[in-house]
Symmetry: C2
Subunit: 189 residues, 2 copies
């Protein structure tokens, strides 16, 4: 039941927004009582925090594996971009809630999530810095700003990309890693 | 009074979200009555539509001027990216409402805005196509996907960029046009 509650909530949050969705709306979709909801989550905000935490913890875990596996900055960056883009297929609705509804978390919970997001971002920044220092990437880049540009490209794709359309996630990921690498690679590499 | 109503509403929508902000909240901020609100807007949604329309109509107008003034694809693209990034300084909060709250418009109004957004996007796509055809940009680019990538970079900057921080909008715009041009330029150009 917990998984169904999460799934239906995500769909409703995407469709109507977090504020406009009531616990009653969620349980009505599943034909269960509010008791079932409160058995799993103490509030609508607790559910939203659960969604945020599971999303970012999973990304951080998979990012860590990439950093431990790939040797070059270029390879690390490609895999992290692929990780984010491939997620659209499985996690599209979840991603939209994650990017849009953080302001409805309690201040403490929002801080926790922001710190984890910053960790994910800092690790990308470290990849860029590493690439600049070892000559894979151009010398005149600002690693922090390039990191935000990359996250802009990948995060925005959650808003418009339709994985059931003409283009596959694979093709999108290839196109975007190609664009990003051309944008930052040094001529020699 | 209309301008003040719009300004306070935008601040409240950014802070609390559209759904969680009441007309009462808006008029309380200004110390006026609900009558003042209804004199200018027939509903909270009508105000939201006003915000969306004025934002996109202004962007379309300025984009048109750029297209009529610049000769090369490269110059057109740089100016459009600058237009979007420079707007953060003046229009940051407005931009965040614009990107986030479109789902709270009526279906007809949302369609009107989506059509205008599509026009803005299509014009960028035409610049990319033009550049591919005349050899300024690489041959193997998909103009549509590159357009979304560029909009991802600029739109995302509304979420994180602080115009009062260490980096000026000018520097950010230069960095991003440089990154984008490296990403798409043909070697010869």
């Amino acid at each position: 039941m917990k998984a169904e509650l999460i799934k239906e909530s995500i769909n409703l949050f995407v469709e109507k927004g977090f504020s406009a969705t009531s616990i009653q709306d969620i349980v009505d979709k599943l034909g269960v009582t509010k008791g079932s909801f409160y058995y799993h989550f103490k509030s609508k905000e607790a559910l939203l925090m659960h969604i945020h935490l599971s999303y970012i913890d999973d990304l951080l875990k998979r990012q860590k594996t990439i950093l431990e596996t790939e040797k070059e900055a270029r390879g690390k960056l490609v895999k992290v971009v692929e990780l984010l883009i491939h997620d659209i297929e499985k996690q599209g609705a979840l991603g939209r809630v994650y990017y849009r509804e953080i302001r409805h978390l309690t201040p403490e919970n929002a801080t926790t999530i922001r710190e984890k997001r910053a960790e994910f971002r800092d690790r990308i920044e470290s990849i860029i810095t590493e690439g600049i220092e070892n000559g894979e990437f151009r010398k005149n880049l600002e690693a922090k700003m390039i990191t935000f540009a990359i996250l802009g490209i990948t995060n925005w794709s959650y808003q418009w990309f339709n994985p059931n359309g003409d283009l596959s996630v694979r093709e999108l990921a290839d196109m975007y890693t190609d664009f990003i690498l051309h944008g930052i690679q040094s001529k020699e590499s």
